[in-house]
Amino acid sequence: MTYAFYPGCVSKGGCPELYPAAVKVAERLNIQLAEMKDVGCSGAGVLSQEVSDPINARTLAKVEQMGMTMMTICSTCQGVFTQANHRLKSDPDYRERINRENLAQEGLRYEGTVEIKHFLWILDEEFGLDKLKELVVRPLSGLKVAPFYGCYLRRPPELMVPKGFERRKSVLEMTIEALGGEVANIKGKGKCCGFPILASSEENSLAMCSDHTMEAKEKGADCMVTPCPLCHLELDGLQSSAEKHMNEEIDMPILHLPQLVGLALGFTPKEMNMHRHMVSTEEVVKKLEGVRA
C-alpha cells in the first residue's frame, strides 16, 4: 500500500535522525511512501486555527488528489491534522469557505474524504503486528522499554481513540512486545512531555521531563520509545537541563518509534542513527549486541 507521507518539520529539523530511520523501516516493511514536499507546517497547536486550518486543508486537498491515506510520524502533526480534518469534514460551510477563499486560487479543493494515520497506527491497523513479529530478526529480548505516546496521539479521545479503535490506547506497548521487548509500564505514558510550555514556563517543563524519565528509570527501563519527535526534543534534548534543574542523574535514552522497529528488523544502530541523540544510547546498543541479527 502507498501512503501520502507527511514527514513534518521536526523529523528533518531538530530530530534529523528520525526521517531516514522512518523511510528505511517503511521500505523494509514494503510500506510505499509518496513523500509530500509542497505542503506547509501543521501549526503544531501554536499557530491559530484561523491560519493553520486553511494551510492544513491545502495539504489534505493534495492528499485527496493522490487518492491515498496520509501517514504522519509525529503525534503532534497527527493530532493537529485529525482535529483540523474533523472540523473540515463535519462543517461543509466552513470547508467551502476555506476552499473558496484559500484554495481556489491554486485550483485546489478539499472534499473532506481524507484519512490520516500515524505510522504507529498503520503498523497495527493496516500492516499488522503479527506480521511485524514474523519479520523480527533481532528480538529486543532483555530490553525493557517504557512507552511514551505524546498527548496529541491520545486526546481528545473521541477523535484520536474513537469507538472500534480502542487498541490505540495500548498499541505502543503491543508494538514493543511484538518486537520482543519488555514493557516498563509508566503512569506518565499518555501525559504531556512538557515541550509545549518550554518558552512560557521552563521550570514546569523541565519538571515534567524529569518526572517521566525518572519514572521510566524507577520502573527499570533501559530506554523510552516515542512516536512523537517533539516529545523526543524534550525528553532527549532537554534531559540534561532537567538533570541540572532537579539535581538528579537520569541518563535515560529516548528512541524514536521507527528506530526501535528498525533495530528489531535487523538494521544496525548506525543505520538507525542511534549516535545522533543527546542522551547516549550506548547502553541500549550494547544490550542488543548480545542478540545476533
Partner: protein, 317 residues
C-alpha cells in the same frame, strides 16, 4: 448486588496518612456511588465524610476518585464501577484533603476562581435599553456556563501535577466566559492579567482537561481561544510573544518551521544571557549532527509562496 466498598479514611487529628476501610453493602447496580456512600454513612458509619448535594450531576460537589478514575459520584453507577466485587473510593489527588473525601476547596478552587474575577464588568454608563448579545455568542457562552465547578479538569491537568500554583483550566474556563462576553468592558485588561505567571501560558494544551470535563465544555479549546486573543492584544511575556511571532514568521516565509531560528528568536536576539544559556545545548546538538540551519540557510518548501498567500489573507482579516 453485594459489593465491598474500600473507602479512603483520613482524619488529620488521629490518622497521619489515611487508609482504605472496607464496608460491605447490598445495593442495586444502578445505584450511584453517592447513594452507596450515603447508605454507608446512614447505616454503618456516621463518621464518614464526603461532599454531595444535588444528586443529579448538577452541582459538581461530589468529585472523587472511583476505581482509580476521576468521577462525579452521583453520576457514576455502582454496576459500572465494580471490579471483582469491589469498588475503591478515594479523594481527588492534587488538593489537600481535610477529611476522608472532603478536600480543601477554598485554597485550590475558590481562590483561583476569584483570581480571574469571573464576573462581567459592563462599561458605564449602562445602556438605556437591554444589552443584546448575538445568538451565536450566547450559545457558545451557555455551553461554558454549564460548568458545575466540579474541578475534574484541574484534577486531570498535567501542569497542576508539577505546579499547584497554576491557575488551572477550571478558572481559565470561567475567565473565557467573561472574556468572550461582549457585555464585558475589561477584555484587554483581563487578557494581560491572565497572561501573567501561572496564568494561561502555563497550560501545556494536552487536552486532559477536555477529556476530564463531564459537561463537554472543552476547557483546552477555551484556553486556546484566550491565547489567540491575548496574542492579538500583545499580552504574554516577551518570550511567549517572541515565540509566537517567530513561529508564524518562519512558516509564512518558508512554508515550514525554522526550529533553530525559533529557539534564537524566543530568547530574543539581543538577549545575550539567554543566548549564552542555550549555547552548550546547541554545540552538543551540532556535534551530534542535529542542529538545524536557521534563517536564510533554512530552505524554503516548494509551495512556500502559497503558504505565504494564505498567511497574508489571514493577516488582512
Amino acid at each position: 448486588m453485594e459489593v465491598t466498598f474500600k473507602v479512603h479514611r483520613y482524619d488529620p487529628a488521629t490518622n497521619g496518612k489515611g487508609q482504605l476501610q472496607s464496608y460491605m453493602l447490598g445495593i442495586d447496580e444502578d445505584a450511584s456511588i453517592l447513594d452507596a456512600l450515603m447508605r454507608i454513612r446512614e447505616d454503618q458509619d456516621t463518621t464518614l465524610a464526603f461532599r454531595g448535594s444535588c444528586r443529579t450531576g448538577f452541582c459538581g460537589d461530589c468529585t472523587m476518585r472511583i476505581g482509580g478514575k476521576n468521577r462525579i459520584a452521583c453520576s457514576t453507577t455502582v454496576g459500572k464501577s465494580v471490579k471483582d466485587g469491589e469498588v475503591t473510593v478515594e479523594p481527588i489527588r492534587i488538593i489537600n484533603v481535610l477529611k476522608d473525601m472532603v478536600f480543601d476547596a477554598e485554597a485550590m478552587v475558590y481562590q483561583k476562581y476569584r483570581a480571574v474575577e469571573p464576573w462581567i464588568e459592563p462599561s458605564t454608563p449602562l445602556p438605556q435599553e437591554e444589552h443584546l448579545v448575538s445568538n451565536e455568542v450566547i450559545q457558545d457562552l451557555r455551553k461554558v456556563m454549564s460548568c458545575t465547578m466540579c474541578w475534574l479538569c484541574d484534577e486531570g491537568c498535567t501542569t497542576m501535577v508539577v505546579d499547584r500554583k497554576f491557575v488551572g483550566p477550571a478558572a481559565l474556563t470561567k475567565a473565557y466566559r467573561v472574556v468572550a462576553d461582549p457585555r464585558d468592558s475589561k477584555t484587554e485588561e483581563r487578557l494581560h492579567s491572565l497572561s501573567e505567571e501561572k496564568g494561561m501560558w502555563d497550560c501545556c494544551h494536552c487536552y486532559e482537561a477536555t477529556e476530564h470535563c463531564p459537561k463537554g465544555i472543552d476547557p483546552t479549546e477555551r484556553i486556546f481561544a484566550l491565547r489567540n486573543q491575548a496574542i492579538k492584544v500583545g499580552a504574554g511575556s516577551t518570550k511567549v510573544r517572541n515565540h509566537y511571532r517567530s513561529f508564524g514568521a518562519s512558516v509564512k516565509a518558508h512554508g515550514w518551521l525554522d526550529e533553530a531560528r525559533l529557539a534564537i528568536d524566543t530568547e530574543g536576539l539581543t538577549n545575550i544571557r539567554g543566548q549564552l544559556k542555550q549555547l552548550p545545548l546547541a554545540l552538543k546538538a551540532l556535534r551530534r549532527g542535529k542542529l538545524p540551519k536557521p534563517y536564510f540557510l533554512h530552505k524554503k518548501r516548494p509551495g512556500a509562496a502559497n503558504i505565504k498567500r494564505i498567511f497574508k489573507l489571514w493577516e488582512k482579516k
